[in-house]
Structures are given as C-alpha cells and as structure tokens.
C-alpha cells in the first residue's frame, strides 16, 4: 500500500518541520498543510475504496490526524511557553525618569559631615564677607604677618572688609558667643585670589573643626582626626601627623594620608611619595583662646581644616579642579 508508506513519511516530515519552527505563523502554516489540506486529500481517497477498506483506511486517517494534532499542539505549547517567558526585555532601562545629580563637593562633604556629627560636632555657619579682625587678627595673624602671604585675599574694602580666606573666622565668631566645652565644624565656601585655570579656582570649599574643653590634648587631636579619615576613606588608609606651622595653632600638624589612588605605592597624584597631605591641624594657640575671652590656662583645644576641592578630584577621578564650578551635569550624573 503506497498510501500507508506516504502517510508514514508525512509523519516523519511533520516532525522534522516542527523541530525547525521559529514562529507561531509557521505553526499555523504547518497546521493547514497537514491537518487541513493533506487530511482532506486522504478523505477524498475514501470514495474509491470498498466498505472493508474504507473502515481500515478511515482508521489510518484518524490515527494520522490524532498524531498530527498531538505533535502540533505540543509544538504550539512549547512555543507559547517560550513566548511568555520573554514578556519583558529586562535589559531595557529607560531614562525618562530622572533623579537629580549630586554635586561632587556636596556628596563628599556630606560623608564627612556625617562622621563629625556622629561624634557630636554641631554645624555652624558665618559670613563669607568678613572683617580682617575675624579672618586674620584674632587668629594670631596681625597685619604684615608673613603668613598672610599664603592667603592672597580678595577685598571688598581694604584693609578691613574681605572675602574670608578660610572658615576659621566662623570659629572665632562661634567662640565669642559660646563657652567651652564646644565641638563645632564650620563648612563653607572660601576665597583666595587665583586665576581660573585647569588646576586653580578663586573659590573653594572648606571644612574646619574645633574642639575646646578642659584638658583637650594633641593626643585627642590625633585620635579624632585619624578616626575621621578612616571612617571616610576606609580602615586601610594610613594616617601620619608631621610638624607644620599655622599662626593660630601650636603645636601644629599637617596630616598626611596614604594615597587613595595607588594605595601608597607612589603615583602621579601623590608625586611618587605614597602620601597626600589632606589637612592642617593643631592645638589652638593660647593667643587665640585669650583673644575670645577664654582662660587658656583652663581650656585647651584643637582645630583642623581641610579643603575639599583637591580631595574631590582624587575621590571621583575628575581631572581638572575648575570643572567643579563648571557644573557639566553629564559628569555629575556619573557619580
């Protein structure tokens, strides 16, 4: 019987085709070819057969039909299952809902503020346009003091009204108002005459801190500032204190931290030394304490200050310091 052989080969070809199928459309084409056209052609054969033959061939057709239906629906369900698992493309991240970019200086500052506030420091602010008295004189820098050279100052009306060159002025104002024990940080913008170029700006962000009470010592200074640097930059950073000079503190210490870029091995950022200077600090000079009316025999204290701009550069891999004030939002969006 040729027909029976033909049916067997049709079955084989159906299975082959279903294996290769890639879309629902192809399945419906197969359906119509095998279940409609071919089954129809088989039925049309029936009329030429005897009653006996009809009965047996009819069964064969039914078997084929069942076989084909089963295989096709199997393929269909497999295909449907595949389709539903790909309901969403999770590799798409649309960007039309935005959160605002944070400014790197603020982002870094907030990490630092958190540590000091956690240690009990209060945040105080003061004027940016200052009197010479608060910016220099009461910080043990009388007029013509050579240390003033380090801070080339902008003047609103020389010599008395100027743009503060550090936020230490805020601490003097705070001490005038408060009695020890005090623990404050004074963050804010400060100004020094400098042309704008890739590595200089006439304005920068500074944070200074002050702790005055009975028996505050240099050992306390070391502990608090080491804790701060390790909290912000990681337990693994090395911290070193070396002698330095600021007119308003004595003893004074510059604080070096192992270079966060190379881990202390030496690179361009740290000029090959493995260390970067991050802050200035020291024990508040008795002249400063007496100047605000504190008894320097009773009270001692430490002060520190750090500029955030250069820091932010290494922290966020920014290449130019002036970019901090250019505000290219596409850069801020990356951090």
């Amino acid at each position: 019987m040729d027909k029976l052989q033909e049916i067997e080969s049709k079955k084989a070809s159906l299975i082959e085709k279903l294996k290769k199928v890639t879309s629902a459309k192809e399945i419906s084409e197969i359906k119509s070819e095998y279940l409609k056209k071919y089954v129809k052609s088989l039925y049309s054969e029936l009329k030429n057969l005897s009653a006996e033959e009809k009965k047996s061939f009819g069964k064969t057709i039914n078997d084929f039909k069942n076989f084909a239906e089963e295989k096709i629906s199997e393929a269909e369900s497999k295909f449907k299952a595949q389709k539903s698992s790909a309901k969403y493309d999770v590799t798409i991240f649309k960007d039309n809902i935005k959160i605002g970019a944070e400014h790197p200086l603020i982002k870094l500052y907030k990490r630092i503020e958190e540590v000091f506030v956690g240690m009990g420091f209060s945040v105080v602010q003061g004027p940016e346009i200052e009197l010479d008295k608060y910016n220099f004189e009461m910080l043990n820098m009388p007029s013509h003091h050579p240390a003033r050279d380090m801070q080339d100052t902008f003047y609103i009306s020389a010599p008395n009204v100027l743009l503060r060159s550090h936020t230490s002025s805020v601490q003097i104002r705070a001490m005038e108002k408060m009695q020890p024990p005090i623990q404050i940080i004074s963050p804010g913008t400060v100004y020094r005459v400098d042309d704008i170029d890739p590595q200089h700006t006439p304005m920068f962000y500074q944070i200074e801190g002050l702790m005055v009470a009975e028996n505050i010592s240099f050992a306390n200074l070391k502990a608090v500032l080491t804790r701060f640097l390790k909290e912000v930059f990681g337990e693994e950073v090395g911290v070193k204190f070396r002698p330095s000079y600021y007119p308003y503190t004595e003893p004074s210490a510059a604080i070096d931290m192992s270079c966060t870029k190379c881990g202390g091995k030496g690179c361009r950022t740290c000029k090959g030394t493995g260390w970067i200077t991050v802050a200035g600090s020291g024990m508040v000079h008795p002249n400063v304490l007496e100047g605000v009316g504190y008894d320097s025999k009773k009270y001692t204290g430490f002060a520190f200050g750090l500029g955030l701009n250069r820091f932010a550069l290494t922290y966020y891999d920014l290449d130019e310091i002036r970019k901090l004030y250019e505000n290219d939002i596409s850069l801020w969006n990356q951090i």
Binding site: G100, S157, F241
Partner: protein
C-alpha cells in the same frame, strides 16, 4: 621655600652624609620635600620652610637641624674678634634706631672686584639659581645662603662726603636699582643714602649709584638688621622680592650679624685681595640678652597628652641646643638660641618638645567630652531642599559667588529695587567676576547655557548658596542670605514608552515644583505680581510667606538676557525660581480629614475668562458644601475657536462625607448650587 645644595650641606654634615637619610630627617621634623633637581654632581632640593623658621633659610641652619636630630653638636658661626670704634670708622654713619636693630660695617681697601670667583662658589650659586655678578657680590650672596645674614657692599669711592644715613626717606624719589630697573621710593621707606642720593633700599636691593663694579677698589661692607614690617611693606609695594628681603621679612639672627660680616670680609680679602681696615663699625641700640622661657613639664604633658618626666623633656630640648636648668620638680628655665626667633612663649617650647619627642610617638587618645548638639536650622533646611529637588530630577550646581560687573544692567534692575546691588570686589580676577551676586539668576542661567553649549540639553538645575546685599546693620556692612535657585528648560519627559510626544517643562510645572518644595517645610505661601523686567510679561511673581517676600518666580525673558554667553542656544522657554532659605518657617502639618466612607470624584469642564483664577473658582465650589474635600485643576487649554479672553479648565472635585456614603442626588444638589454661583459671579459655563 628654601633650595639647598647637597654638596654645600655636606660641608657641615660630612662628605658621606646620605641624601635619603637627610631628607627623611627633615621631613620628620616638619620640612616637607618640594621637589629636587640634579645639577652636575650636586642635588638641589627645595624644602618647604614656613614663616616661623627663618633659621632654615641657609645651609648652616639646615645642618643644625640634622645634627640636632642625630644628637650631635650643632655647627656655629666662627666668632671673629675685631676692633670696633664707631667714631673712628672711615665713613660717618647716622642711624635711625627705630628702623634698624643693628648695623655693622667694615671697610676693605684695595680689592680686585674682577677677581676670579672659585668654581665651587660659582657652581653652588648657579645651582641655586643665583646669577654670578662679580666676586664681591657673589661672596656676599654666598655668605647669606651659607649662614643666613644678608650682606651688602658699597663702592666706597662713590659715597659722597664719606657719610651714610640709615633712615626713613622723607620724600618720594625715583631710583635705578642694581639690576637696572627704575622704581619709586616713597616717603617712609627705609633707605641708606649719602645725602646726594639713595645708595640702597634697606634690606631689599642696592641702587646703581654705589654698586660694586669690576673697577671698584675700596668697598664698605654692610650687615644689618632692618625692621621686618617696613621691609615687607616696601618690598610688596615695589614688587621687588630678593633673597635678602625674603629673609629680613621673616627675621634674621641679630646676634650673628657682626660675625657674619667679618666672615664675609675675610673671604673677600682671601679671594679678591685687599685689606680690612681697622676699626669696624657696629651700632646696636638694644643690648643682646639671652632669652629665657620657663617651661612647666605638667603644662607640656597636658597639652600634648603624654606623660614625660622632667629629665626626658630636658634631654629633648638640649639635643636642639636649648640650655635647660630645672627650677623645681616641674619648671625648667630654658634659654633660647639666638637664631630661634620663633620661640617666645611656653607654648613654643611645648611644640618643640612634641616635635623632638616625635609626633609618631604620641599615642592617640579619644577625648571624653560632653557638649550639646545644636541643630543648624538653615543647614537642615538646605538638606530638605536638596532631597526634594534632587528627587524631582534637579541637578545640583555650585557657581562662583562673583558675577559680571554689568549684571544689573543686563537684567535691567534699577538702583532702589530690592535685588539691586553694587557690592563689588576691589581686586577681582576679572570684570566678569567682580560683583558679589545679589541674586542667583545670573549664575544659574549661565550654568544652564554652558550645559547647552556642551550638548547637555533639557535640564533642571538648582543651587544652594548665598546672595549678598549692602546693609549697615551688620558688622561687615553686608547682609548675606542663604538662597535656593532653580531653573529648568526643554523636555521633561521624552517621547516613547507610552507618550507619543515630548512633554516639555511648563510654567505650571514651575508652580508645581515650588509648591512641592514649600510643602516639604509645611510653608504656606501666596504669589503677587512683580515687575522684574527679566521675566516675560505677566509671568513674574513674588513669593510671599508670613507677610514677607521670600523669593520670586517667572518665565525668563530670553531676548532681554542675550548677553549671557550661550543663552541663545536654549531654544525652549526657561522657567526660574529663587527663594530665601532662612525665611522658611516650617510647621508640622496635621492630618485633618479622615473618613470611612468612599470619596466620589466628578469632572467639570468649564469655559472661563482668563482673568478668573482657579483659586476663585475653588473658593466658590468649596463654599457650596463642606463635603467638598478638594478642587484640583486637571488640565487647562486654549483653542483657536475660543474667544481670546477665555480658556477651558478641567476641574476635578472630590466629595466625601464623614457621616455617610454620598448619594448622586446629594451631589447633584451641590453641583447645581455652585454652578449657579459660578455662572452669576464669573459667567462660567460648561464647555459645549
């Protein structure tokens, strides 16, 4: 900063002194490395020397520090015995003692100023960047860099009348300096003159008039100590800073002046020939006295946070050439070496103890201190704004506080207006950075424009910073106001993902954002029209809270502000808001309404005159029944077919009762009531 030559230093520390070792010791003691350079067979190293340590501005000083560190005897200037008689000195010298602490001079006759300078002197000076002039001048410079005393030499034959006066100039005079430049001396500058003309600007630079030249035969050699502040002021004004003025400003050891002079004179005669004439001249009005400072070991331990015994403290100080004598168990009488001009008080000695004992050896101790934490209101307000605007998609910027001098003109703000200012910096870096900003608008608009120029389009930006106004009631004469500004322009939501077109920022978004920010403080506010000309007509409003103006808002008039660089790149409308942070007095808001019955919402599309505000409509609707919870504008639009003074406004009214579930009959009754009122009062009808 001081640059030293390794070879030179080895004269003191030994030929084999190891460079790295030297550098390590200097660094530990607080003299930071600032770069080096190999010059022939020498290394020139720059170290940072702070203003308090002028004794580290010459080689012997550095050698002292290194030797002391090692606990070895420190080098000293060799003492010269030489007859002094001021009366018999060949030049009559008159000195104003108020400007000159010490003045030493000696005459050398028959020198050969064109003598060959020994190679090592030339090389060392060259390595340090000091040009060779002639033998006499070079040896003077060499002495200064070697032992710290600036030396000046005059051609004796050019001193008219054999007399010199050291005093303040009493008139303004033009001079030609040694190096050939002209400068103007002002009355009050310290000068050395012979009555004819000025021979030297004290401590700073010699003039051409008595300069030692190749043909000079007899010289007067001078070593003096001039008033630090005068030298500094004159040097700054003349913009002439010399190695000599740099040292005088910081201080020179007056006890060594005479010895330094005689050392230099001997070296000159050795190299240039000639004879040192007897006697020499030495004028020192204040007698040299050994300085003493008492140090309490207890005070020292307390400040440093260590517990050293008296013996250890004494050993530390003795290493560094401080002579110590215990007074009792605690106090030590310490005599200060004459070159340590920075040690004047006990605390200066405590610093020395800490430094010598070693900062690394001081163990950190956490302080135990109880202070009360004071929350900074303005500061925490800023954090709330940062969180709110950041969450709404605004990027934070920080801009320069100084803006162009002509900003007021660009913005068309007149004197007398509340945001006018002429508070400028006297020494700005440029005109574009000279006015202390009285508003943030310039900063944020130019920042927006800058971003457009680098293809960052469609932006919302903000800044938290200060604005400044002249105000005599403050001690600085300036009122500084913590301020927030925000600006936006372009597309807020780009097309796609369900939106078939770009949705741009609108004026109503601006109001929306303002309300969200004010709500985050629980701050009620209202808006009153303002007349700022940098806003588009009819868009500028002042923000009023608690009866006071706290800011302003509007759509920027771009054509007016075209002078702001790149602003023309911003094609879309720009919306701007600025408000003062400290004025925000937030209240805790209470939950006022709670009902277990379901709310019912109804929409009403009205045609209304443009001069009728949504607020007025809301008031009428709310007055019709107390079950009206909310009246919200859902949309507002215009159409060509509308009459010009009308627009369509879609309101959603939210009804809810605390007592029962509202029925449609009840609502229809309320509707009927307010529709009649709206119609009779404002002529409002349903849109057909």
């Amino acid at each position: 900063m001081f640059k030293f030559s390794l070879n030179w230093l080895r004269d003191y520390c030994g030929k084999d002194a190891n460079y790295d070792d030297i550098m390590k010791k200097l660094k530990t003691q607080g003299f930071e490395f600032d770069g080096n350079q190999e010059v022939k067979d020498d290394i020139v190293t720059a170290i940072e020397v702070k203003a308090n340590r002028p004794d580290m501005l010459y080689h012997m000083g550095i050698a002292r520090e290194i030797k002391a560190f090692d606990g070895e005897p420190v080098p000293t200037i060799s003492k010269k015995q030489f007859a002094v008689n001021n009366e018999k000195f060949p030049v009559k010298i008159n000195i104003d003692n108020s400007v000159c602490k010490r003045f030493c001079a000696v005459k050398i006759s028959g020198v050969n100023a064109s003598a060959q300078v020994p190679e090592y002197i030339k090389e060392r000076l060259n390595a340090l960047g000091i040009n060779s002039v002639n033998a006499v001048v070079d040896i003077g410079n060499y002495t200064m860099i070697d032992i710290g005393q600036p030396i000046h030499a005059y051609d004796a034959d050019k001193i008219v009348g054999n007399k010199l006066m050291v005093s303040k100039a009493n008139e303004n005079t033009k001079i030609t300096t040694f190096s050939g430049e002209t400068s103007e001396i002002k009355s009050g500058d310290i000068v050395i003159s012979d009555g004819e003309d000025i021979k030297c600007v004290a401590g700073i630079i010699g003039t051409d008039s008595a300069a030692v030249k190749e043909n000079t035969k007899d010289i007067i050699l001078e070593a003096a100590i001039f008033d630090e502040v005068s030298v500094r002021l004159t040097s700054r004004r003349l913009k002439i800073s010399t190695p000599s003025s740099f040292r005088f400003e910081r201080g020179v050891d007056a006890d060594s002046t005479f010895n330094a002079l005689m050392n230099c004179a001997e070296m000159i005669t050795k190299i240039c020939g000639g004879k040192i004439e007897t006697p020499a001249f030495d004028n020192r009005p204040e007698k040299s006295e050994e300085k003493h400072v008492n140090l309490s070991v207890k005070n020292s331990n307390r400040l440093i946070g260590i517990s050293l015994d008296q013996k250890t403290v004494i050993n530390c100080l003795r290493k560094y050439n401080f002579k110590c004598k215990p007074i009792d168990e605690d106090l030590i009488k310490v005599s200060i070496p004459s070159y340590r001009l920075d040690v004047l008080k006990e605390v200066d000695l405590i610093e020395e103890v800490a430094r010598i004992y070693g900062y690394d050896n001081i163990k950190p101790v956490m302080p135990t201190i109880m202070t009360s934490y004071h929350k900074n209101k303005v500061w925490s307000n800023m954090d709330i704004i940062r969180k709110t605007l950041g969450g709404l998609g605004f990027g934070e910027t920080i801009n320069y506080s100084f803006i162009p001098a002509d900003t007021m003109k660009i913005f068309d703000i007149d004197e007398g207006e509340d945001i006018y200012s002429d508070l400028t910096i006297q020494n700005p870096i440029a005109g574009a950075y000279s006015l202390m900003r009285p508003m943030m608008a310039y900063s944020l608009l130019s920042c927006l424009a800058y971003n457009y120029s680098i293809n960052n389009n469609n932006l919302a930006l903000f800044e938290l910073g200060r604005v400044y106004f002249k105000d005599k009631s403050f001690d600085t004469g300036v009122r500084e106001v913590d301020t927030c500004g925000f600006v936006m322009s372009g597309v807020r939501i780009p097309r796609g993902f369900g939106s078939d077109k770009d949705i741009k920022y609108t004026y109503y978004d601006l109001l929306n954002y303002l309300e969200i920010v004010m709500n985050s403080f629980g701050q009620n506010f209202e808006l009153q029209k303002n007349e700022y000309k940098f806003f588009e007509d009819g868009s500028g409003y002042n923000i009023i809270a608690n009866g006071e103006k706290i800011g302003f808002i509007g759509e920027i008039n771009k054509s007016k502000l075209i002078k702001i660089p790149n602003l023309k790149l911003v094609k879309d409308k720009i919306f701007y808001c600025e408000f003062y942070i400290s004025k925000l007095a937030g209240k805790v808001k209470k939950i006022k309404f709670e009902s277990k019955y379901p709310p019912i919402k109804r929409l009403y599309n009205f045609m209304q005159r443009r001069d009728v505000t949504a607020k007025e409509v809301e008031t009428v609707i709310k007055s019709s029944s107390d079950v009206v919870r909310d009246v919200v504008v859902k949309d507002i639009y215009s159409d060509k077919n509308f009459s010009e003074n009308e627009h369509a406004v879609l309101y959603e009214v939210n009804y809810c009762s605390k007592e029962h579930t509202l029925t449609s009959e009840e609502i229809e009754k309320i509707e009927k009531d307010f529709l009649e009122k709206l119609n009779s009062k404002f002529g409002i009808k349903f849109k057909s």
